[in-house]
Amino acid sequence: MVTHLTPSEPMSEGVFRAVSDGTRRAILDGLASGPRTAGDIASDFDISRPGVSKHLRLLSEVGLVTVEKSGRERRYRLNPEPLSEIDVWLTRYRLMWSAKLVGLKELAEERAREAKQNDAKGDTP
């Protein structure tokens, strides 16, 4: 009988992995104030152009970034919607650990009381 199940990764597990990389977070931060070209972003953080493009491709695959074409320019725009899935995952874990800690506390305190009783019995002649 299963009495517990851990939270599985978010449906879009790629989002999670995408933002767990510091460089990609830097790129998303760079887009926070408005859509920009890859070259713009690269100059911000001293990352190579091909490096930025590689990260932007991954970010658009998971939906965190959308591409707009304006003439010959490709601009990237931040889409923060997928980040709300991380909150769901975090909530699930926070709820699980909170519940487990309360159970652990109860058991630990029971053990502590037993230990005290055993000590007391030991002192009784």
């Binding site: 599985s8 999670f16 769901v88």
Partner: protein
């Protein structure tokens, strides 16, 4: 159109106080805001509101999301309310019956879908954790005047951090984290532990036949070990990605311990020079900007 069967959860809890005391804690807004939710606004009959919300309530952070309403109200005996939880209609029925000097509380909760966008297969466990936490807090509140642990579900946090004070020395708390038979009493199902860095640390969940379908495995290996002070293990998914769980034990006097667990969602955080925003701060900032854009 197919009708979806509701997901049904039911569990009983024993509380060390008579039904009158328990009923009051469940139906007085002042009491509820001390042990159950950050905010509460409740009536005392069918049709009246039974609103609770705030940062301690998963998926019901704002008052706007709090639409709970009483459907049955029998003083010292039963309380039922409807609750749209995480976008899904749910129905709660709580009944109380005297049991010696205490009360047997039966919680019956039905949900018409996947609460908060969790996987459908997890809904039962979401409800299990929610009610075990809530009833554990109620028990602690009744006996000591305060809840045991109220989580903070405010959005924008990077990792999960939960912390609790325990009236037991570190040696006992450490034993509950490192002895397989003790682990089985609060989280394991056939736990296996080889207590050394690199050694196996398993809750035994994956071995359960029913778990073969599930994505998750739980911990596998010990990464750091500092007896009675710190334990770090990984946290695995069948999908292949690995996270980390850090346990720290801080003494609060000889017979009291603060236990903290931190679930880190990004095991391979590569820090990038020139950009020092941590994960949590990043999420908060991006979210603030997105909110601002939406309102503009």
């Amino acid at each position: 159109m197919t009708t979806v069967k509701p997901i049904v959860f039911e569990k009983t809890f024993e509380l060390p106080a008579p039904p009158e005391r328990v009923f009051r804690a469940l139906t007085d807004a002042g009491e509820l805001s001390r042990w159950f939710a950050e905010h509460a606004d409740v009536g005392d009959q069918a049709g009246a509101p039974y609103k609770f919300w705030g940062r301690h309530t998963a998926h019901t952070l704002s008052e706007r999301q709090a639409d709970q309403a009483i459907t049955a109200y029998e003083p010292n005996s039963s309380l039922a309310f409807d609750w749209t939880w995480g976008g899904v209609p749910t129905r709660v029925a709580i009944s109380l019956s005297p049991s010696g000097d205490g009360t047997t509380v039966t919680v019956h909760h039905e949900a018409d879908g996947a609460i908060g966008g969790h996987n459908l297969s997890e809904v039962n466990f979401v409800m299990l954790d929610f009610w075990c936490l809530s009833m554990g807090n109620l028990k602690h509140y009744i006996t000591s005047g305060a809840p045991a642990l109220l989580p903070d579900h405010s959005p924008g946090q990077g990792d999960v951090v939960c912390s609790i004070e325990i009236d037991a020395p570190r040696s006992i708390v450490w034993k509950l984290l490192t002895d397989p038979s003790e682990l089985d009493r609060w989280i394991g199902q056939g736990a296996k532990i080889d207590l050394r860095v690199g050694g196996e640390y398993s809750y035994g969940w994956a071995d359960q036949a029913e778990m073969q379908e599930c994505e998750c495995v739980g911990p596998r290996t010990i990464l750091e070990l500092d007896p009675e002070r710190r334990l770090v293990h990984d946290w695995d998914y069948k999908g292949g990605s690995t996270h980390r769980t850090e346990w720290t034990l801080d003494p609060l006097g000889a017979d009291r311990t603060r236990l903290t667990v931190r679930q880190i969602g990004a095991a391979s955080e590569t820090e990038f020079s020139g950009y020092t925003n941590g994960w949590g701060k990043f999420l908060l900032e991006v979210r603030e900007i997105a909110e601002h854009d939406r309102r503009a």
